[in-house]
């Protein structure tokens, strides 16, 4: 089985994403949902080993970004070797300030984690996001031969475009 933990401060997209993930038939995927860290300690003993932690950030909400940033501090550093991934929604919305996307990019790049963009409002978008997440999850859970999560993360990690510090012309 593969275990993933979806962390989202708004607790909205994670539900539909979880349902799309468990529909995968070739392997059993278990999904745990949380709003933020720290997780309740009552669950510590019953919680299985997590293969992938996904931070879902809604770009239209500053609170969502800050909550994800604050939660990062509680995560054991060992997870950052390929078992953490960032997923961002509403990147195309016009109300998103460019600085926020840049800040998320810098955060993902500094932690060497992949950054995925998802479209949550259509069922097709949710399915696509789930599929891409599953490929990373398979590698993170060790189901892909000759690949470790660290190796994959080196290939998929977010990189900053060279002109990120220059003002954009939007």
């Amino acid at each position: 089985t593969q275990e993933t933990l979806l962390v989202e401060s708004e607790e909205h997209f994670q539900q539909s994403l979880a349902e799309a993930l468990v529909e995968e038939t070739s392997v059993t995927v278990n999904v745990r949902l949380a709003k933020s860290f720290p997780l309740p300690i009552e669950n510590d003993e019953s919680r299985p080993r997590i293969d992938l932690v996904v931070f879902i950030i809604n770009l239209t909400s500053e609170l969502s970004f800050q909550s994800a940033e604050a939660s990062l501090k509680y995560l054991e550093p060992g997870y950052f070797l390929g078992k953490v991934c960032f997923m961002v929604t509403n990147a195309r919305s016009s109300s998103v300030p460019a600085e926020r996307l840049d800040a998320v990019r810098r955060l993902a790049a500094s932690l060497h984690c992949p950054l995925l963009f998802a479209e949550e409002q259509t069922p097709q978008g949710v399915t696509n996001a789930a599929e891409r997440l599953l490929t990373i999850l398979k590698a993170a859970a060790g189901f892909v031969p000759f690949t470790t999560p660290l190796y994959l993360s080196n290939l998929t990690r977010c990189t900053l475009p060279p002109d990120i510090d220059q003002p954009s012309f939007d």
């Binding site: 933990l5 708004e10 607790e11 539900q15 979880a18 349902e19 468990v22 059993t28 995927v29 278990n30 999904v31 745990r32 949902l33 949380a34 709003k35 997780l39 309740p40 009552e42 669950n43 919680r47």
Partner: protein, 335 residues
Amino acid sequence: MLTQHKQLAQLQTRCQTPEEDMQSFRNFPAPSSSSGGVLWRMAHIVEENKLTLTHLAELEMIHAMENPNQGMWYTFQLLEPENDAQSVELTQFKQQFKCHLSELLRQMSVKIKKHTDEAVWIRIALGSSFSKPNHLKPTYVVHYLQTPYVFVRNLTSKLKPLLSQALTLATRHQGVKEANLSGRNLTSIRDLLMRQYQQVFPTKYRSPPEEEDQPVLNQHIEKEQGGVAAHRRHMAHQAFGDGMLPQLQSAVYMLDTKFRDPNNRTMTEREETFKCVVKFSSIDLLESLRSCASSGIASAPVTPLLSSIPLKGRNYFVVTDNTPGPSSQGHQTQN
């Protein structure tokens, strides 16, 4: 519907003119646009049935009673009932009210009807010493006998003191004050004030776990912080109630307190109070506040500033600092 109302009003003024005017009006060819056509047909109906102004006023009142959720309603509360206030019943109230109001005003038109839900509706059209009552802008008053609540729509400043006096005398009370609750839906503000919505009473021990929101919860999906979320939801429902909530459109807080912000020392060090007005607007304010609290956007337990909207049945608050000490974490609300 609005244009039809205007046309009805125009017809009302027309009815005061003699028959010849109606005749000449009917002689015009029927206009092609639909609104003109409605006006023409209504003029025809009015003339055929020999409707008078009183009939039209009655029609308008019936319409208003069937559609109470229009316009802006303001609430008043009757104070200090006399000993026999509880025994005031409809005929006595009607007679006393009309009598008192006609003592105070010469030119006016008052109609009183009882609605099926025990509410007494009063329609008042005011004139002055020079003119007949203005039926275009009537004031509506709704009162539930044996309760101290009165709801008013379209009150003019001229009518206000006279209405207060007539109401207090007719209901055997000694005064009336503003109840600080206003809204577009009469049914909602009535339900809020008289607590006729589904409430959750505070319990010390949590009741057996309620049904899950998603009863078909997938066995592969598990919530880490389900307990915390359920607790938040419970507290939000305690503050605001279960099920359908009365619809309010706004809540206004007039703040007259000292500025408090640890990040802004210049403002905090000022001696005088900081006056500002905070207004919350929404299509359905209580529902949005409840979902803010249960989703964690508003901190739980719900601050008494917000929970006193349904608790005290008001949406206009004046907030001052009652206690100057540092222990006052929030602000005290004043009645």
